[in-house]
């Protein structure tokens, strides 16, 4: 086979080969506990942890907004679980809502929140409440700044919010120490732009990795006080609270696939540069 032919083949590896290698690269680490991974807690995650850690137990709740749909669950549910473990293990109350327009985020919250709360014997409506969903995120964010009970007259399960003990002291954001938005869309940014700037709400962001690079200006400007970025962010938070979960478990596969993709890019580029040099 001619050298040029090899270069051409290297630049056009069949997609089925790439798919197969990718599948193997993701799957094998679950069986062989390789490669070793190292997880360093970044400053952004440390900041988010410190904000949540500073909330006094059994006082006003941390608000968690499930602003993602099932498409991003693999990245954001481990994050939600890690934050909930942190809160419930310390007796920090949790107020969950969802502002994902299709309502599917509410389906995720209604599965995750009660499940983790049950592990710590936390009581519904006392230690945690799930107010349900509102379709237009921006309008709901602004409404909560004035009156939570008008924004969510009943919770997800149909209980009037007036009858929920956890909600008794809560009128608006003044009684909320911080919100963490778990977002797969620009809703994460809206929290900083709308209630953050208008009501001075402290905003933490748990974002899909896609949005992590875009949100950095808000972190530097102080509009967002801490960031958990993608599955790695979840793994870092798990390390910080010393509770291994799905975030950490997935990092081996993350590593093998990153190197696999880099290897393919390098092969493609070497072949491209050599073929260009040979005319």
């Amino acid at each position: 086979m001619q050298f040029q032919e090899i270069l051409r083949l290297l630049q056009n590896i069949d997609r089925r080969i790439i798919y197969s290698v990718l599948f193997v690269a993701v799957t094998f680490p679950f069986y062989i506990d390789w490669p070793p991974v190292r997880i360093e807690v970044s400053r952004e995650v440390e900041d988010a942890y410190n904000v949540i850690e500073s909330i006094p137990p059994h006082s006003n709740p941390l608000m968690i907004s499930f602003d993602y749909d099932p498409a991003s669950a693999a990245e954001l549910t481990p994050m939600a679980e890690a934050v909930l473990h942190h809160c419930f293990s310390r007796g920090i109350r949790v107020l969950a809502i969802s502002l994902q327009y299709s309502g599917l985020g509410a389906g995720i919250a209604s599965d995750v929140v009660p499940r983790i709360a049950a592990e710590y014997g936390r009581k519904q409506n006392v230690d945690w409440a799930f107010l349900g969903f509102q379709p237009n995120a921006v309008i709901a964010m602004l409404q909560m700044g004035e009156d939570f009970k008008k924004t969510f007259p009943i919770d997800y399960y149909g209980t009037p919010v007036n009858e929920i003990p956890l909600m008794e002291p809560i009128q608006n954001y003044d009684q909320i120490p911080a919100v963490i938005t778990l977002a797969s869309t620009a809703v994460g940014e809206y929290w900083a732009v709308y209630p953050g700037s208008r009501y001075g709400l402290k905003v933490l962001a748990g974002l899909t990795a896609v949005y992590t690079a875009d949100i950095q200006p808000f972190y530097q400007s102080g509009q967002i006080s801490g960031i958990l970025g993608g599955l790695k962010g979840a793994a870092e938070y798990e390390k910080r609270i010393d509770k291994i979960g799905d975030g950490t478990a997935g990092m081996r596969s993350q590593k093998t696939v990153h190197y696999m993709i880099i290897l393919f890019i390098v092969i493609g580029n070497i072949a491209y540069l050599l073929s260009r040099r040979r005319g």
């Binding site: 630049q11 056009n12 590896i13 790439i18 798919y19 990718l22 993701v26 991974v37 190292r38 997880i39 360093e40 970044s42 749909d69 099932p70 498409a71 991003s72 669950a73 693999a74 299709s102 599917l104 389906g107 995720i108 209604s110 599965d111 009660p114 509102q134 379709p135 237009n136 309008i139 709901a140 602004l142 409404q143 004035e146 009156d147 008008k150 997800y156 399960y157 149909g158 208008r198 690079a213 875009d214 950095q216 200006p217 530097q220 790695k232 990092m251 993350q254 590593k255 696939v257 990153h258 696999m260 993709i261 880099i262 393919f264 890019i265 092969i267 493609g268 580029n269 491209y272 540069l273």
Partner: protein
């Protein structure tokens, strides 16, 4: 009625919602209008649902190609509605189980497929054809390794952090400021009736 009235409604509501930011006395009306907006928005989403139903219903009625799938979609919708309205929502209900066992894995897997396409596309498209492309590629590779906390002897995690917090930050900030100005000016044009494409072509 067809053009002037919508423009008038848009201007009055828009100007009020902008002005209330600076006039706390308007808060009661503002709160009520927010409720109204939320309700109208909800109806607009339901309009989308009606459109989906219309499409699948028509397909089944006329026995068009792949009508069986449309029938399955309608049956699944009815099942979910019955489960939600009769048994209710919450852990252990049929509504939640259908969500966890079908809806969530289907959507999650559809997006997981993108990993395969992305791997294949980055191999094919990522070439060092110019300085710009090289900068992009090098930054991507450093971030991909650095975020794994690998290559510490070469300070790659530090470089990844620097890329994220410095060149990436300034680029995203410039875009953010530009987009912010663009959004505000477009919103102003809408409120003032200069931008009126939302009214449609005028043929309906």
């Amino acid at each position: 009625m067809r053009i002037q009235l919508p423009l008038l409604i848009c201007a009055i509501v828009g100007i009020f919602m902008a002005v209330q930011y600076f006039v706390p006395a308007l808060l009661p009306i503002y709160n009520r209008l927010n409720d109204y907006l939320q309700i109208v928005y909800a109806f607009s989403i339901v309009l989308g649902v009606a459109s989906v139903l219309h499409r699948h219903g028509g397909k089944v009625q006329k026995r068009r190609k792949d009508w069986v799938y449309s029938l399955a979609a309608i049956a699944a919708m009815v099942l979910m509605m019955l489960a939600g309205f009769i048994e209710g929502r919450g852990s252990g209900t049929l509504f939640q189980n259908l969500f966890n066992a079908v809806l969530l894995p289907v959507q999650a897997t559809m997006f997981a497929l993108l990993a395969f396409y992305l791997a294949s596309a980055s191999f094919r498209a990522f070439r060092t054809r110019s300085t710009d492309a090289t900068v992009l590629l090098v930054a991507a590779v450093i971030v991909m390794i650095g975020r794994l906390d690998d290559g510490r002897s070469l300070a790659i995690p530090d470089m990844a952090r620097w890329i994220l917090n410095t060149p990436n930050l300034v680029a995203k900030r410039a875009i953010l400021i530009g987009v912010g100005l663009g959004m505000a000016s477009t919103a102003l044009k809408v409120v003032l009736g200069i931008e009126r494409s939302y009214l449609g072509s005028g043929k309906e």
